[in-house]
C-alpha cells in the first residue's frame, strides 16, 4: 500500500473526514495509530459523533494553520459551538489535543 498523505477519520455515525496526516498527527493518539492496523488501512474509527469530530478536525486544521504564529498571539479566536463544548472537552482529552 503506497504511503498516502491523508488518513480517513470515521465517526461513530459513519461520517468520514479525510485529513492531512500532518494535521491529524497533532493528536498524539492519532499519530500513534500509524504503527498499528490503522496505519495499514489508513482509516481510524473513532467513538464520537460526526459533529464533534467535525469540530475537532476544524480545530486541528486551525491549529495547523496558525502553529507558526501561536507564540505571537495574533491569531483569530477558534469558535466553539456552546452546545458541544463539554463533549468536545472530553474528546480532546481522549485524543490528547
Amino acid at each position: 500500500m503506497p504511503e498516502s498523505a491523508y488518513i480517513t477519520l470515521v465517526s461513530s455515525d459513519n461520517h468520514k473526514f479525510v485529513v492531512l496526516k500532518d494535521v491529524a498527527s497533532i493528536s498524539s493518539v492519532l499519530r500513534n495509530t500509524q504503527g498499528f492496523e490503522e496505519g495499514k488501512t489508513g482509516k481510524i474509527s473513532l467513538d464520537m459523533d460526526g459533529d464533534i469530530l467535525e469540530c475537532i478536525v476544524e480545530y486541528l486544521y486551525y491549529h495547523y494553520k496558525y502553529r507558526e504564529q501561536a507564540e505571537s498571539g495574533t491569531i483569530p479566536e477558534f469558535h466553539i459551538p456552546t452546545h458541544l463544548a463539554l463533549e468536545l472537552l472530553v474528546k480532546a482529552d481522549f485524543l490528547d489535543i
Binding site: 498524539s28 493518539v29 500513534n32 495509530t33 504503527g35 498499528f36 492496523e37 490503522e38 496505519g39 495499514k40 481510524i44 474509527s45 473513532l46 467513538d47 486551525y62 491549529h63 496558525y66 502553529r67 501561536a70 507564540e71 498571539g73 491569531i75 479566536e77 477558534f78 466553539i80 463539554l86 463533549e87 472537552l89 472530553v90 480532546a92 482529552d93 481522549f94 490528547d96 489535543i97
Partner: protein, 852 residues
C-alpha cells in the same frame, strides 16, 4: 481557546463527576469489566512482543486502557503490565544464556534489547493515557522507562548480574583483543552494548531518582581496573626494549590507537578517566626513565645528538624529530607546562653546550691552526659562530618538534645562557670560556673585516647585508651573556684599540661606507638599544672623542693652509679624554711628556717637533681647550713615510715608534750644493743602545718594533747585525739597501702576539695577560661601584632592610648587568658601613639602617 505552547495544560477534562457522568451517558456498559479489558490488552501486548503490531487496532486498545484508567483501574493495569513484561523478559533471558559464542551472544543481547525497546514503544503508545494520568499522578516510572527498568532487573541483573557480568566480560575481552592489535568484528556490538548499559539507569527504590547507570556502576570500574593492568603490562613490555626511541614510538602509536578506540566506544564521561589512567601509567610513570636513558639506549641525549653533529659539517645527519615530537606530545598530555621535558632538555643542552669549546678547539687544530688559546680571535669567532649555529639548529628543532612552544624555547634560552656563561664548566676538564671577552673579540674581528675596503664593486649590497647579519648575530649572542658589564669593558677596550691603531684613512672609509652610517656607530646604537645607553656611557664618549678628533683635524688643516705654514708634517689627530678611555691604554700617558716628572724619557725626533709645537699652539688658542692639558702618546698611531731605496721609492706605513726609529736613519748632512745626502751614502749605523738613547722608547716596545722593521722578512727596512731573530743590546742596525717590495705601498705590520717570533712570544703573552688582567680589574672596580650604588638606592627607599632581603633585592636589580657574588656584596656592605652610609641595627645584626 487559544492554542499555544502550554495548550495541553489548558484543556483539562473535568476530573471526576463530569467525566464519569458523560461516560455513563455514552457507554452502554457502566460497570467496566477489568478482567475482560485486561485480557484483550494483555494478549495485545503479547502480540506486540511477537511483532504483530499491524493487526491490532490502536484506537480500540487505547480506548480500553483509557476507560480502565478513568475507572480507577490505573494501578492494577500498571502492575499487570509490569508482571506481564517481567514474565516475558525472564523467558527471553533464559534464551540468551543458552548462547555460548561470544559474538552470537552479543548479537542476541542487542537484538533482544532492540526488540524490547521497540515493543515497549508500542506498549507505551497503547497505554498513553495511563502514562498521562495515572503515572503522572502517582509519580511512577513511565511505561517505557518501566520497560527499561524491567529489562535491567530481569535480564541484566537477574541472578546476581549473570547476563550483565557476561556482557561486561565479553566486551572487555573484545577490547583487550583489539588493544593487542587483533582485528575484531564486534566493534559495532561493543558500541551498542555500551550504549545499552548506559541507558540502564539505577533507580533507588520506587522513587524515580536518576542515579548512576549500569555502565557506571558495573562496567566502568571493571573496565578501568582491567585497563590499568593492561597498560601497566604493556608499558613494562615497552620498557623492556631498553630502547628509548622504540618506547616512544610504540607508546605514541598505542596511545593514538587507544584514543580513537575509546573515543569510539566509551561515553564522554569515561573517556577522560581512561586517558588519565593511560597518561599516568604509560607516560608519566615511565617517561623520565626513558628520557634519561643513556645515549646507547636512545634517550633524550641520543635524540639531541644530531643538533651537535650538524653544527660543524652539514652532512645533515637526520634529526630525531619524530621521537622528539612524540615525546613533546606525550608529555603535553599530562603536563601543559612540560616541566619534565624542560628540565631534561636543559640538562642536555648544557651538557652539549659545554662540549662546544672542545669541539671548536679540535676543529681548529684539525684546520691546522696551532694556537688555540681560548681567547684567540680564531677561537672566539669560531666558538661564537658555533654557539649561534647551535642555537639555530635547536630552534629549528623546537619549531618542528615542540611546536615552537614559548615556554620550551624559554628553557632552551636559559640553558644556553647557562652554558655560555660557563656555569658548571669548571667542574670537569672542559675548557672554560669567557663569553663576554670572546664576544668582544668576535665583534672586533668582524668590525675590522667589514671596515676593510673591499675590492669588489658590488659591496654596496653584500657589505650592508653582511653588516646586518653580523650585527644581529652579535646582539643575539649578547642576550645570552649574563655579565654584560664584562662585555662592555672588553668592548670598550677593543673599541679604543681599533680607533687608536687604525690608520686615519680607514676611519674615513668607515664613515663613508655605503650605508652612510658609521659601522661603529651602528653597532653602538644597537648595543644601546640592548643594554641601555647609560651603561655604554664610556664607549659613547669615546665615540664623541673620535668625532671631535676628526673635526679638530679638519680645523687644524684649515688653519695650516690659511697660515701658509711650511715644513710641517700632515697630522691626523686622535684626541682622547683620558677618563673615558680604558685605563690599560691611558695609564702611562704622562710618561711621554716632560712636564710631569721633569725627566725626559721620550724624545720626539726633530722632524716632528715643529709640527707638534704648531699644533699645540693651535690647540691652546681654541677657547674650549682652556682647561685641558694635552699629552702626546707615541704608543699609538702610525706614520706614513716616503723612503727612497736604491731600487725605488716606497710609501711605507708603520707604527709611530717604528717611524721614529726610521727617522734616525734619515739623511743628516747635506752636499756642497745644498741637496741632501742620500741616506745610503751616509752609511749610518746605530747600535741598539744608541737607538734607545736617541729615541727614549721603552725597552719592550723598542725591541718589538725593531723586530718589525729589521727581522720580519716582508718588511726588512733595516739590516740587523748579527742576523738573529732576537734583538740584543749590542746589535747594530743600518738601512737595508736591498729592500724590495712588489708594490709601492708597504705596510709594516707590528709584530704582535699572533705572529711574533719565538723569543718575544713570552713577552707578548705577558703583555696580553696584563691587559686582560687590567680589563678584569676594571670590571671588578666597576662592579664595586655598581653594587655600592645599588645598595644605597635600596637603602634610601627602604631605610631599614634585613640582610637577606637586601641581597635578594640587589641580585634582582643587578641581574641584567652581572651576577654579584655574595662575598662581593658583603664586602660592599662593610665598605658602606665604614663610610657611614649604613649602620647595623644595635640589637639585630642582620638588619641595616640607612644613615641619611
Amino acid at each position: 481557546m487559544i492554542p499555544s505552547g502550554s495548550r495541553r495544560s489548558k484543556i483539562r477534562p473535568p476530573r471526576k463527576s463530569l467525566v464519569s457522568s458523560s461516560l455513563d451517558g455514552s457507554n452502554s456498559d457502566p460497570t467496566v469489566d477489568f478482567e475482560k479489558s485486561w485480557s484483550i490488552l494483555s494478549s495485545a501486548i503479547t502480540q506486540i512482543q511477537s511483532k504483530n503490531v499491524s493487526n491490532l487496532s490502536y484506537e480500540q486498545l487505547y480506548r480500553k486502557a483509557y476507560v480502565l484508567v478513568l475507572r480507577k483501574y490505573g494501578a492494577k493495569l500498571y502492575d499487570n503490565v509490569a508482571s506481564l513484561i517481567t514474565h516475558h523478559l525472564l523467558v527471553r533471558r533464559d534464551h540468551l544464556l543458552a548462547i555460548s559464542d561470544h559474538e552470537d551472544f552479543m548479537k542476541a543481547v542487542i537484538l533482544e534489547w532492540d526488540e524490547h525497546l521497540q515493543s515497549m514503544k508500542f506498549v507505551s503508545d497503547v497505554l498513553m493515557y495511563l502514562n498521562r494520568v495515572y503515572v503522572k499522578e502517582h509519580k511512577k516510572l513511565l511505561i517505557y522507562d518501566l520497560g527499561i527498568e524491567l529489562f535491567k532487573d530481569n535480564v541484566i541483573k537477574h541472578n546476581h548480574d549473570e547476563v550483565g557480568r557476561k556482557i561486561v566480560d565479553i566486551v572487555i575481552q573484545e577490547i583487550t583483543r583489539n588493544r593487542k592489535g587483533e582485528v575484531i568484528t564486534t566493534t559495532m556490538y561493543i558500541t551498542k552494548l555500551i550504549n545499552m548499559l548506559e541507558l540502564l539507569v539505577e533507580s533507588a527504590g520506587t522513587d524515580i531518582q536518576y542515579g548512576e547507570n549500569y555502565f557506571q556502576t558495573m562496567f566502568e570500574p571493571t573496565f578501568l581496573q582491567n585497563s590499568e593492568t593492561f597498560f601497566y603490562n604493556l608499558s613494562q613490555e615497552f620498557v623492556n626494549y631498553n630502547l628509548g626511541s622504540r618506547y616512544i614510538r610504540e607508546a605514541g602509536q598505542f596511545i593514538k590507537e587507544e584514543e580513537s578506540r575509546i573515543n569510539f566506544y566509551l561515553p564522554s564521561s569515561t573517556y577522560p578517566k581512561l586517558i588519565d589512567l593511560m597518561n599516568n601509567i604509560i607516560i608519566k610513570d615511565k617517561i623520565d626513565d626513558i628520557i634519561s636513558l643513556p645515549y646507547e639506549q636512545q634517550g633524550l641525549s641520543y635524540w639531541l645528538q644530531p643538533v651537535l653533529g650538524n653544527i660543524f659539517d652539514d652532512r645533515q645527519s637526520t634529526h630525531h624529530l619524530a621521537e622528539l615530537r612524540i615525546l613533546y606530545e606525550l608529555i603535553g598530555r599530562f603536563d601543559s607546562e612540560y616541566q619534565l621535558l624542560r628540565l631534561r632538555l636543559k640538562e642536555n643542552i648544557i651538557a652539549q653546550g659545554i662540549q662546544l669549546p672542545e669541539f671548536v678547539k679540535t676543529s681548529l687544530q684539525n684546520a691546522g691552526e696551532k694556537k688555540t688559546a681560548t681567547n684567540s680571535t680564531a677561537f672566539a669567532t669560531k666558538w661564537i659562530d658555533t654557539v649561534l649555529r647551535y642555537r639555530e639548529q635547536i630552534m629549528k628543532l623546537s619549531a618542528e618538534a615542540f611546536a615552537s612552544n614559548p615556554i620550551v624555547e624559554q628553557t632552551i634560552t636559559y640553558a644556553m645562557r647557562d652554558f655560555i656563561n660557563g656555569s658548571g664548566t669548571n667542574r670537569k676538564n672542559n675548557i672554560s670560556v669567557n663569553a663576554p671577552e670572546l664576544l668582544s673579540v668576535y665583534m672586533d674581528y668582524y668590525i675590522k673585516q667589514l671596515g676593510k675596503p673591499s675590492p669588489s664593486k658590488d659591496i654596496s649590497t653584500s657589505s650592508s647585508d653582511s653588516t646586518d647579519v653580523f650585527v644581529n648575530r652579535s646582539i643575539q649572542f649578547l642576550r645570552y651573556i649574563k655579565d654584560k658589564d664584562a662585555f662592555e669593558a672588553n668592548y670598550a677596550n677593543h673599541f679604543a684599540k681599533r680607533f687608536l691603531n687604525s690608520k686615519g684613512a680607514s676611519q674615513t672609509i668607515n664613515a663613508n661606507n655605503k650605508l652612510g652610517v658609521d659601522l661603529e656607530e651602528l653597532i653602538l646604537s644597537k648595543l644601546g638599544e640592548e643594554m641601555g645607553t647609560t651603561s655604554l656611557d664610556k664607549i659613547i664618549k669615546m665615540n664623541k672623542d673620535i668625532k671631535s678628533s676628526k673635526d679638530t683635524t679638519a680645523e687644524y688643516k684649515k688653519h695650516i693652509s690659511k697660515n701658509q705654514k711650511q715644513n710641517l708634517v700632515d697630522l691626523e689627530l686622535k684626541i682622547c679624554n683620558v677618563t673615558d678611555w680604558p685605563k690599560s691604554m691611558t695609564k702611562d700617558y704622562k710618561s711621554f711628556s716632560k712636564s710631569d716628572t721633569g725627566e725626559v724619557s721620550f724624545l720626539w725626533p726633530k722632524q716632528l717637533r715643529n709640527t707638534i709645537r704648531e699644533f699645540e699652539e693651535f690647540w691652546f688658542s681654541g677657547k674650549k681647550n682652556d682647561n685641558k692639558s694635552l699629552y702626546w702618546s707615541p704608543k699609538f698611531g702610525s706614520i706614513d713615510m716616503r723612503i727612497t731605496y736604491p731600487s725605488r721609492t716606497y710609501e711605507i706605513n708603520m707604527s709611530t715608534y717604528a717611524g721614529i726609529i726610521m727617522l734616525l736613519f734619515a739623511p743628516q748632512s747635506s752636499n756642497a750644493d745644498g741637496t741632501m745626502v742620500s741616506a745610503f751614502d751616509e752609511q749610518k749605523e746605530l747600535t741598539y743602545d744608541e737607538i734607545q738613547e736617541l729615541t727614549g722608547i721603552p725597552e719592550a716596545d723598542l725591541k718589538r718594533h725593531l723586530q718589525s722593521i729589521a727581522v720580519a722578512p716582508r718588511s726588512r727596512l733595516l739590516i740587523k747585525k748579527p742576523m738573529t731573530k732576537e734583538v740584543n743590546n749590542t746589535d747594530v742596525f743600518k738601512l737595508n739597501e736591498n729592500f724590495k717590495s712588489p708594490s709601492i705601498k708597504v705596510k709594516v705590520l707590528t709584530v704582535s702576539a699572533s705572529s711574533s717570533a719565538a723569543p718575544s712570544k713570552a713577552k707578548q703573552k705577558t703583555e696580553q695577560e696584563e691587559e686582560a688582567e687590567e680589563v678584569q680589574s676594571n670590571i671588578a672596580e666597576g662592579r664595586k661601584l655598581e653594587v655600592n650604588a645599588a645598595i644605597v638606592r635600596i637603602m634610601k627607599s627602604r631605610h631599614t632592610v634585613r640582610h637577606n632581603k637586601l641581597i635578594e633585592e640587589l641580585i634582582k636589580q643587578l641581574a641584567n648587568r652581572f651576577q654579584p657574588s655574595i662575598i662581593l656584596i658583603k664586602q660592599r656592605i662593610e665598605d658602606l658601613i665604614e663610610k657611614e652610609y649604613l649602620k647595623r641595627d644595635d640589637d639585630d645584626k642582620n638588619t641595616y639602617h640607612y644613615v641619611a
